[in-house]
Symmetry: C2
Amino acid sequence: MSKYVYFFGSGKAEGKGSMKDLLGGKGANLAEMTNIELPVPPGFTITTEVCKLYYKNNKKHPTGLEKQVEDNIKKLEKATGKKFGDPSNPMFVSVRSGAKFSMPGMMDTILNIGLNDQSVEGLVNKTKNERMGFDSYRRIVNMLGDVVMGIPHEKFEHVMSELKRERNVKVDTDLSAEALKELVRRYKALFKKETGRDFPQDPREQLWLAINAVFLSWNSKRAITYRKLNHIPDDLGTAVNVQTMVFGNFGNDSGTGVGFTRNPSTGKKEYYGEYLINAQGEDVVAGIRTPKHISELNKDLPHAYRELVKIYQKLEAHYKDMQDFEFTIERGKLYMLQTRAGKRTAYAAVRIAVEMVKEKLIDKKTAVLRIDPHQLDQLLHKQINVKAKLDVIAKGLPASPGAAVGKAVFTADEAERMADEEGEKVILVRNETSPEDIHGMNAAEGILTARGGMTSHAAVVARGMGKPCVAGCEKLHISEQRKELTVGPHTVKEGDILALNGSTGEVILGEVELIEPEMAAEFKTLMEWADGMRKLSVRTNADTPNDAKIARDFGAEGIGLCRTEHMFFEADRIKAVREMILADDEPGRRRALAKILPFQKKDFIGIFKAMKDLPVTIRLLDPPLHEFLPYDDQQISELALEMGVPEEKLKARVKSLHELNPMLGFRGCRLGVVYPEISEMQVKAIMEAACECTKEKMKVYPEIMIPLVGHVNEIKMMRELCVNTADGVIKETGVKVKYKVGTMIEVPRAAVTADEIAEYAEFFSFGTNDLTQMTYGFSRDDIGKFIPEYIAKKVMDVDPFQTLDTSGVGQLIEMAVKKGRSVRKDLKVGICGEHGGDPKSVEFCHFAGLTYVSCSPFRVPIARLAAAHANLKSQKVSQGVSKDK
Amino acid sequence: MSKYVYFFGSGKAEGKGSMKDLLGGKGANLAEMTNIELPVPPGFTITTEVCKLYYKNNKKHPTGLEKQVEDNIKKLEKATGKKFGDPSNPMFVSVRSGAKFSMPGMMDTILNIGLNDQSVEGLVNKTKNERMGFDSYRRIVNMLGDVVMGIPHEKFEHVMSELKRERNVKVDTDLSAEALKELVRRYKALFKKETGRDFPQDPREQLWLAINAVFLSWNSKRAITYRKLNHIPDDLGTAVNVQTMVFGNFGNDSGTGVGFTRNPSTGKKEYYGEYLINAQGEDVVAGIRTPKHISELNKDLPHAYRELVKIYQKLEAHYKDMQDFEFTIERGKLYMLQTRAGKRTAYAAVRIAVEMVKEKLIDKKTAVLRIDPHQLDQLLHKQINVKAKLDVIAKGLPASPGAAVGKAVFTADEAERMADEEGEKVILVRNETSPEDIHGMNAAEGILTARGGMTSHAAVVARGMGKPCVAGCEKLHISEQRKELTVGPHTVKEGDILALNGSTGEVILGEVELIEPEMAAEFKTLMEWADGMRKLSVRTNADTPNDAKIARDFGAEGIGLCRTEHMFFEADRIKAVREMILADDEPGRRRALAKILPFQKKDFIGIFKAMKDLPVTIRLLDPPLHEFLPYDDQQISELALEMGVPEEKLKARVKSLHELNPMLGFRGCRLGVVYPEISEMQVKAIMEAACECTKEKMKVYPEIMIPLVGHVNEIKMMRELCVNTADGVIKETGVKVKYKVGTMIEVPRAAVTADEIAEYAEFFSFGTNDLTQMTYGFSRDDIGKFIPEYIAKKVMDVDPFQTLDTSGVGQLIEMAVKKGRSVRKDLKVGICGEHGGDPKSVEFCHFAGLTYVSCSPFRVPIARLAAAHANLKSQKVSQGVSKDK
């Protein structure tokens, strides 16, 4: 006959940790804990096989199951020295479901099985606590009635409310023992009324009702839906765990607590934990009594404490990781209820991983894999103290991570004034930011906008500056004039304190405590290990020498994307830029461009110096020209006056440049094809800067990048322009500089025709923001109206602008890499979209064979670690990339 | 020794028509004409081989060439009975280049070789025309000096101007014989001054100079550029044609003319042509003297006429097509100078093709292939009489073909009023049209807009109505208030006459003559033949019963795209649509939708009736909702009043619906995913209509099409919605209707993941407008700023919205077809973008294995013919599609 039931207890289990298929996750874990001789309350697991047979046989148990269960109950009684349902020395059990994968939607737990009119007296006698006995009793009547027999939960609630009203008490815990006795009576009456039968007094009947309820919950509607959404097969079945109950509230020789094998906040190797004497697990969580530090247990219950100390060591020796655990002490005897890898701060995670290597508990690879790259954000930015109570008044997009607190200001000028003159910390609040707000953003601690997405001006600039930003917080009504914002019932005026959590998008009213980021020596060690384990290079997206420096300090190995448009906005040249746009003909444009040239050259010299010896990829002008002109009538008037051009002319130009879909408009290399003189000026500035730096004995590796190429003839023409101009500069200066010309791949057509394009491009850089926009056909600025709904309805798992859409956009990337390298074997291929700093996307890039990823400075460490993870994984997988479904 | 020179003349040529590689196009043609015993002036062709050897051997002639040329000159002298350079009976020759492919950029022609100080006298004696003799002489001095010796052309011009000034004459032809003699003298002096040598008097030297000039012109910069741009290999080489000259101006027994073997306007089988007595070819072209009809030649020169009549028959018998030709009669003897397939009107083309089949000259396939599908437009729309002189004042996009004349009006109301009340023909002129202009468009003869592209509202609606439309004519300044438009110096006021050519985009001031379209019986015959030769089905894009009827008359085999958004704009329901958009919640939306349902149902009943027995693909609502609301403040105020909602609320809703890139916004199936109730109403209306029609014993085949799908979960969810709703209607009505659910493929991601999507789609329809926009990353509405420049700079050959980009977008289509059919073998695949009516794109669709193409009603015949062409071609090619480079 098949073995349907696996016993665990008395230091030995029939199952083991690897038997998750048969015993479910929880059952396997309990067996494992038992086998390493942790004092686990004994119990047994009914296998998933039984569940499958149950459904196969029209909801009947397989022959022999009853007998095996009965045998195991006997074993339990032997192990505990108690008797199931015994009036004087009763044994109680819990029944829990436990599938291979943790599954909300299934039955959770039924406690106190074995309680009936007789055994409740035994419990009261033993605990000398009548209240506790009857409270336990009413709970099992409720649970069996509700979960098993399907009596609506509200009906029990109603009986309870009625009683509380009669006894004039507010909360359940104020009910006296006598009242609870009455409650049990009424619950049992309800049970009878609803089911037509008495509450079962036979413990074995209670047990079987609970076991069957677990089986039935496998096919509950919620469970089926959950499996469907999460692609879990329907035929796995669930196991059932039956475990004897222990009570921490049997008196002052009992207690309950939780522990960590190391300090989860700091990572320090010390015994860490809390406990309460004469209490149940939920009391610790409820926070009504203040728990004591674990070290005090040595005084309260020295025997249990000594045993606990041994367990701390045993846990780490066995699980090779910091563990948390729950324990209960019943009458001086310690029981372990659960253990698992402990949650920890990023700081602790790094310290623990590095120290465990030193302790020879784990190897370096394991240490590196232990750190979730996402966590590193905590180490790089200020954080809000999670213990603080927050008054969250709105939620926007988490556009740039970290936290900030300061006084709300509504104009860039005021932000600068308050910060500079009054030394105030300020939060700049705007409907949206524009290049004219840069000085205010620079002065502010954080930026909050009502409009714009994750790639809006505010978001991009803030990320570059490493400042927290919450963008596109659409519920805000901001009045610059009245200097206030309103959201729901709240009004925030200039000077009121606001806090932002740029990692979550939360906008918080009032002062909150911030925690400074810490970068310990362990962090450096761990990152060095990671660097030795990755194949992908990591570059940064940086437009200024300052950004470049920060990124370099974070380990960037070059610049993968230096945008030049922000340079055009700088105060000292925007006028010339506008002259260029307003010029009537090419000579006019060239005159204006000649004024911009020296500035551009200076920009590039600064960047080359900051990135000495490392490659710098510079993208030629990308945005549509209208972005450099004002939109509204008043600003146009002012500018016309300032520039000395007729207002009508300026208006006409603004109108003629207007686009219905600017994302799909006159931008990128289209500018260079139509106005080659703009690109010529930029290439000249790049190469003159490079030659000058080379003269000063620096090594520079400029890489000129053509944006938005979709057709081979575009790159062909632009390449010719670049080479002619660059070689001209080299000839003129007599300084030899090696440069490359390459292209962004951000238009689907470029990916599809990458073989043609690679003939003229020495490198590809995937601009995955645009590529995602065009592959999906939705603009990042406009998805706010439907993507949240898409995620809620599970049409998509994640926002594809945060994590690369590997099954769609990814296919185009893989195609482009393959086609590109078919023509040019040594083609350098990188990614410079926002995804370059997202761990899952970095993993994809590794598997797709990219040369490097490029991301904003503050994400460089994340990318380095993610790249190491990917490579370690690929050593395990060694075949294709797993695709999203 | 190799044969370098091929003789033709005296009824026999050494070469033949198929030897284009060796003799070039012109040489092979002359050989062919000679072989069929046309009286071609004798000559010889130096092969392309010689050109290749010339370059191979460092610009030296291969050994033996001189001798072969000399032998052939002897043959010529024998054939003509004249002598090269002879003072009394001189023979003259022309030298022309002639590569395999016609190639501008190479040397064209040097005439009159053999003219020198002696032979000019012989020419004068024979012609008794001193003026003619010296005019010929000065021309060869000029040509040899300029083309061969590289003397700047202006210098000759300058000498000529000088002389004209001295002689006080205005035009060259007013120069007397004496003056021309003086001109020859001065030209020769210039020749000597510039080259340091005398003008060569030796005819043979002249000849060799000209031959070498032809060889050198093969590698001229212009020729190289031309070859590069047109992908012609550089190593083909050119042939040189040396041909004896004949003169139509030797007196009244001489003449020159052109002819067609059938009437090129009507296609009627009759001798057609014109001639001038005592004239040269250029005189016929110049139009100074009025040529006579060919039939009169019977009186003037009956012998030559009789010969010509024989030639008419011989040409068609040999070339199996209507031919045009040039002839010269020298002293009563007829010479044929050139013949080629004659240009003809569409009407003539169809008649000739059909009649030639009846005459057993050609087979039906050939007849079908003879008609260029593009030409059919002429047969379906009014045309401007090409003989009319037009005052073209502007040019816009050729948005809907055909021509119209009428009084300019600037509002839809006025258009309707003038047309209905005054019976005037009007042209509606608007900055752009909106659904509120439909009644005016309906009343107008044609539509002119200043803004919007080929898929603007005006363009789409006009094509649907079969009315001419010129759209996006950006140079127009239209003032609705002042009721006028200005463009450059012109002002057009209300009531002024305007004409539009929707096939070219021309806007014409004043009255022009229109030619009515003619649909002859021959057209029907030809189209029936074509239908038997095609594999692709042809459907139509039609939104109304009227469109559907027109398309059906034109041979549409179903509807491939019925847009439902235009229905939403109809006056009787736009209010309910707006209520729906403004509703605060789902119940509110459902209430409004319930009002729209009966209208939608009526719409579909009308369409099903018009398309009885044929499939009808209905696309669910596609555009963003803000398109149904007004934009400007005043209109918002009015609407708020009308609808009884607070103005602020309406404004807020308009603002919240605003999108930065509407093309990439909240539209297509995204609407259905977020607001399923909209799609449910539409599906209900479709199915209720289908059931009602079925009850009335009609066969209906509704195909429900989901727009803008990019992710499999979108089609999965929408399919479920459609099936649930449709099956609900079927159950309720008890009427069985077979329906299909499919999807547009218009987002690159849909093409890339077509295998996933095909699991839930019974058909694909490529929306190539959107697919092109997203694959290239440019919006059709915004390309005006750079695509013209792209085409001018040869970055692109054609606007990819007019002809499908086969190498980029095409790859995605092929991928989608392959992936889709890998999952669903019987997947129906069509195209419903504008390309469905473009012949080259239809060809691509055939080769890509599509099931059908769908186009606007008036393009259905074009698509039918193009589909036949594609299939006939594929029978020849029988392998993959040739890709654009």
